[in-house]
Symmetry: C2
Subunit: 360 residues, 2 copies
């Protein structure tokens, strides 16, 4: 059979419908004929199941349409894995997926075809050199075609981050522990030293049940706290530092700029959600988190790695790949906290995205 490219679709008729759509899930029926997306036509040409498009064979057709190469490779890979796919055109797949201009291909569940109206994955095809706006993720699978034409699939979602760790400092009873009868709680003094805070004589629960700070010595009580932990604790009236929260923030901004405010917003949000954030430095992340801390002596595996980014951040696929691969290797979930401008002063403008490897 021969096809003709008309207005961006390849028309095959008059009797292509049965051969291509009904029996093998290519294209969109149009009477007894069928309209193929260019990527579908390329695949049929490649397999030798379509003779030509306007007299052009596979190589020439691809050469005329270099912008479909990435999508062709992904379409082919998923077909090879046994899936039927529907390319999205004009933002929709028939009536199935309206308003998904950010999606290139819909993958139907194994065994289903385009006539079933079911969706297994929504695929966005990106080249290795693209940048990926992080806020655009969630309910989409990135199919990243690298420079050697290998494909990496990354599943993205909007995770529900929550846990059962003591949500607020008050639940630890720390402030109350130092409270005289009838008087206000007495915060524990602490000192800023360079870009960290030392608390020489902390209440034991602060570390043991709240998992705040790290002991400077196995035998001693003194705690080294990060500036984030200290800012949070001063804010909750548990620690007292010369100059108050303002002094801690000033130190934080001096060493990290705006990033400090974003990280503090996320730190607070995680604590509020019952999740304990500790430094993710050894994993190259902002935080690793524990969702169920009862006592530091019975600490489980940390579940998430969290990277804090501005809300409008865009990452390269290579950086995404690095984060996801590392998280996978240490059996953690990679999560991104996107912080909007509203958050600079403790508002609540944080959106969450997770990214993980997918083998379709």
């Amino acid at each position: 059979m021969e096809g003709h490219l008309v207005d961006g679709v390849v028309e095959v008729g008059p009797n292509g419908r049965e051969r291509y759509y009904d029996s093998r899930g290519y294209g969109r029926p149009r009477g007894a004929g069928v309209e193929l997306a260019p990527v579908e036509a390329a695949h049929l040409l490649y397999r030798g199941d379509l003779g030509s498009v306007d007299g052009r064979g596979f190589r020439a057709f691809l050469g005329d349409n270099p912008d479909i190469v990435g999508r062709f490779l992904v379409y082919k890979d998923l077909r090879d894995r046994g899936f039927y796919l529907s390319p999205v055109r004009d933002g929709r797949v028939d009536d199935l997926e309206p308003d998904r201009g950010d999606v290139d291909l819909v993958v139907h569940p194994r065994g289903d075809g385009p006539w079933d109206g079911t969706v297994e994955h929504r695929i966005r095809v990106v080249g290795e050199r693209a940048t990926v706006p992080m806020a655009s993720l969630g309910d989409v699978v990135l199919a990243i075609v690298d420079e050697e034409s290998e494909i990496t699939y990354l599943e993205t979602a909007e995770p529900d981050v929550s846990g059962s760790s003591p949500a607020v400092v008050e639940e630890l009873g720390v402030a109350r522990a130092t409270e005289g009868a009838g008087s206000a709680p007495t915060p524990t003094p602490a000192t800023i030293l360079d870009d960290r805070v030392i608390c020489w004589e902390p209440p034991a629960d602060l570390y043991e049940r709240g998992f705040y700070g790290q002991r400077l010595d196995r035998d001693g009580d003194a705690l080294g706290l990060s500036l984030l932990e200290a800012a949070h604790l001063v804010d909750r009236g548990v620690l007292e530092i010369d100059g108050g929260v303002a002094a801690v923030r000033e130190h934080g901004r001096a060493v990290e700029g705006d990033r400090f405010d974003r990280r503090l917003a996320v730190y607070r949000d995680l604590r509020r959600r019952g999740v304990v954030p500790k430094t993710g430095f050894k994993f190259g992340a902002d935080f690793r988190t524990y969702e169920a801390v009862e006592h530091v002596d019975e600490l489980g595996h940390s579940e998430l790695l969290v990277r804090v980014l501005p809300a409008d951040a865009a990452l390269s696929p290579r950086d995404l790949s690095l984060d996801v691969r590392l998280a996978h290797g240490v059996r953690k979930r990679m999560v991104f906290a996107l912080v909007g401008d509203g958050d600079a002063d403790g508002g609540d403008d944080i959106t969450w995205r997770s990214v993980s490897r997918l083998t379709p």
Copy 2:
């Protein structure tokens, strides 16, 4: 005993030498007394082995000298691990380490002291928020103090990158394979498609013995090549592409800018060294490399992950930590190729650095 801070050192005398230097490796002898670096004095104060410095105890002394906190934590950690250390002052440790202004502490081999004149590690202490000029690495251990005062040690070196894979295309006999008697070699045609190159009918050795490209299909011969591979092969007269190397480079620069030239310089250098570079995308790196490719069917484990950077690049300790952790997890060595300006046109201005985890 009591010490006095004079010109940046803490003098303890008249008889501190025996107590601090001879028996426990602190300080530098000065007659019957001893001169302590502030970090040594802090450690002695911390342990209660020195009464005070100018009437100040440990907490007050540290508060007066916040810039030594990071070094104090590292000094303490390595002492706790059973090492003697000598702080570097004025760029030297006695006569042992002249001209090492980039080193903060010298660690003596276990069992040795400062009087032995031996060196196990040269330590540079950096905070998590510092940036690390990559060219400054090699023969130094980074002790990175993170925001929660935990320490990560990274060993750096100047690696010898080399292998036994076919060093130049000619060794594969690919060009000669198409050479008619008495005529010049006939390169194989290939086509640029978007940001990759396709070679429809390549000589089999190109992939099988040279490990160039990836087969588009398990059953077919057609190869997808990266722009880097294609530029190299066109340059060696093996491939023929409309517009020659210039066209490939133009495409590469259009999608990657200067980075393409740096990566091409490193790609060529690796091939020259007998090492086969393939994309490191899945590991978030520029390349993974194979040092002994004989046939793709008997491919071993890839040994290195290579990140390509400009010669003056400085990384954050967090990014370094991420790279090293990932490489460790997949049992590869993390290597950085620093490309100087001289290399934009195929010169040879590449320096190599490796970074790996160290447990002292």
